[in-house]
Amino acid sequence: MFRIDRRLIQNFDWLTLSIVILISVIGILTIFSATRQPGAAEAVQASFYVKQIAWLAISILALILFVGFDYIWLGRIAIPLYITGLILLFIVLIAGRTGMGAQRWINLGPLSFQPSEFFKLIFIIMLANYYSLAKESLGVRGLLRVFFYIVFIPFVLLFKQPDLGTAIVVLLIFISVSLVKGLQKKVIAMIVVIGIISLPFLGNIMWTGLKDYQKNRLIAFIDPEVDPSGIGYHINQSKIAIGSGEFLGKGYLEGTQGPFRFLPEKHTDFVFAVFAEEWGFVGSVFLLSLYLLLIMRGLDTASKAKDDFGRLLALGITFMFCIYFFVNVGMTLGIMPVVGIPLPFMSYGGTALLSNYISLGILINIRTRRFSLFY
């Protein structure tokens, strides 16, 4: 399984890997800038960037590992993987560590990790596997079956944690992959009608089920000026950070919004704002181009995949990056609600970085084995 083939190296997707490592390095530099403490002694400077470097090293190794075997194997162990994922989510719910009013972590001695970060990937594998077995476009029954078998339980578990961000991402991945897989026209029509009718009820149920901080974020998204030092604070400070970068930026390590703590979550969810403040419009466009390249390359991989499973898996992973990217950057720009999800490859956070690199490894795996020859 772990045979190193000359052609494997030849067909390896060096471009994708270079883009992602470049983004990660930019991320570490930005985390360093965001977490520096002006006025404080060198010794007490936060060491977030050091940890992130360590995680990056681990993540690259994991990526190589996940390119090494044929991704077909993933489809074969999809169901056990999925069940393990659900169990982990369930454990989090009853025994997890609480952070920010939400339980997302499992403590394993000195380590703690967020099962939801890996579950997204497991979910994509499961979905791709299931859809690759269904040859035709889905009818009402088929769709409902998928929804109840694969989507509903994890969605409830995630929503209960509550990890609204991941829950929404899972739902969006399901919708987008299903659309590409192909739905009958009448199914689409029906979903639209039901959606419109049930929107007020669903909205109401969703609203009452939300925690206060989540409600506040939604209110703040609709009108950030309501209370600039309260719920709209995140968005306003983020917009100020990005806007104050102007055309060329304030310069590296010259940003003030993050280090002076005006911007909360500066090294995690709002890392893009810190970057945009220091590098300006020019830098932001450059960074956006890297992400665009990454996503387009992912779509290209999907279209070149040797089988349906590979294609759907590549699409799911690419969609996931895509959703994360748009929700996160849209949030920092004030055109999306504040949903606490990180920017892939940039935000501080070990589990997320590792999970993203593994996902990317699978993507590269699919591209590398795109010729049936290897089958």
């Binding site: 002006p38 055309f247 919004q257 950057v329 720009l333």
Partner: protein
Amino acid sequence: MQNEQQDTRKIAVVSVLILLGFLIILLRLWQLQILEGDELRKISESNRLRVIKVPAPRGIIFDRNGIPLVKNTPYFCASVIPEEFDAASIPSLARVLHMTEDELREKLDRTAQSPFTPVKLKEDLSFEDVSYIEARRSDFPGLIVEIEVGREYLYGGIGAHVIGYLGKLTPSQSKDPEFNDVPLNAFIGQWGVEKFFDKSLRGTAGQRIIEVDAIGREIRLLKEKPPVKGADLNLSLDIALQKAAEDAFEGKAGALVALKADTGEILGLVSEPSFDPNRFAKGIRSEDWRALTTDKKVPMLNRAIQSQYPPGSTFKIITAIAALEEGAMDTTAKVDCRGGINYGRWRFGCWKKTGHNVVSLHRALVESCDVYFYEAGKRVGFDKVYDYATMFGLGEETGFPIGRERKGLIPNSKWKQETRKTAWYLGETFINSIGQGYVAATPIQMAVMMNAVSNGGNIYKPSILKGAEPVVVKKALVSPGTMEAVRSALQGVVSESGGTGYAAKSSTVSIGGKTGTAQVVGIRKDSKDLAEHLRDHAWFVAFAPVEKPEIAMSVLVEHGGHGGTAAAPIAKKAIEAYMLPAEQKKELMHVQN
């Protein structure tokens, strides 16, 4: 793979959608960074930059001999940043600050402002409290200890009515452009000299432009404009005199005004009871304020300028001058006092029931014979007495700048006709000629009058700054002979046998003066009052040294009884204190160099 063609098309559609998404983000970036960039850059600057007004050290107030009367003292106060504060630490924090938990909660509740603005919890922490807090800083997140500068009045209540006190900017003052440069929450002069000269005392506030983080913690100093210290003030007040005088009152209510003979500078201004301005220095507590303002003895009233009393026999100086100047009497004219005179159905008694026998002006003043002045008043007419009283500044404000004065009252027939619609009676001439009846004067007016008699007729506007250009309001046009005759009689009051002011006789300085014992008219109507409140007011007006006057003063003791026994000793002690050499005064006031 029959789907492959179809899938490729779908992926193309997805690509277009994703490109559209990027376009939206690009447009938004353009909007924020290019179109609104300037504005957002400014906001980010104002986010991190704070302009902090630095209060200037307040000018020090000195007495005329260079003795400091006030001191700027730093003190510690504890504040908390609500955003960082942990409510769980309330019980232990309450213990440290010596407050109840409820008091603490009440202060914390009043945080309607930004959660980053510090809320003051406790002022004037002891040094022990501060070191305790510093040592356990991590137990109290968000707690900060700041240094503020308070005003200490070194002699407490002594001179309080002149020096005044500080208070927080009132809401109406904070809108006044005059206080534009005053930092919020700063203390400014609200009374007395502190208020009157506030603008020069408070100096010019400085500025610090600092870089702060989101909780307002200072990161870096960018620019600093140091404050300009307020100008020091040299008062004309002699604190040694002031203290001697206030001590001499021994807790009785009353007032004293002492003037420098040749300039009209205020050397002392006493109003008893006094109050301690130190209680205002860090913001007076409401119960203290209520106690002060509802005190029956009205300590906040400046009796020296705001209370008027019948001058009693001290007014005989005016009657004497009027009679001599108008030729109604000369210094040798004699009057036989049989203990009173009869006029129609009424008898006007002399205070000495047995009578003074035959007296001329000199002895009449020395012994304060009422009958002599009934006669003098009758001969010259009270309208003439009015002219001279007015000439000496009675019945009008003296122009003392600090606090609102009362005018007193000098009546004449015209005044009576206008206000009482009746004619002036001779009986009224009698009683007004000895300073009873309608006549009323403030202690400061009597001091100005006494000063004019001692200095040859100059009515000075009382001033409070040392070396201020003397302002002669007017000149009493009285012949030197008359002045000399009166002054010599006033010396006799203190130094001759039978003189009513004998208690003012000093072994160190020659003093001239006149006693007065003013009946408390009007109070008789209210029989419920205590006996003490019915007692006469005691007056003494004095000047010294007689040969070459340097100081003139008036003393009033409310319900003190006889002027000679209650008021004269106070004048003596005040004058003796004034005559001491400056070095000795400093020693007396415990000035540390």
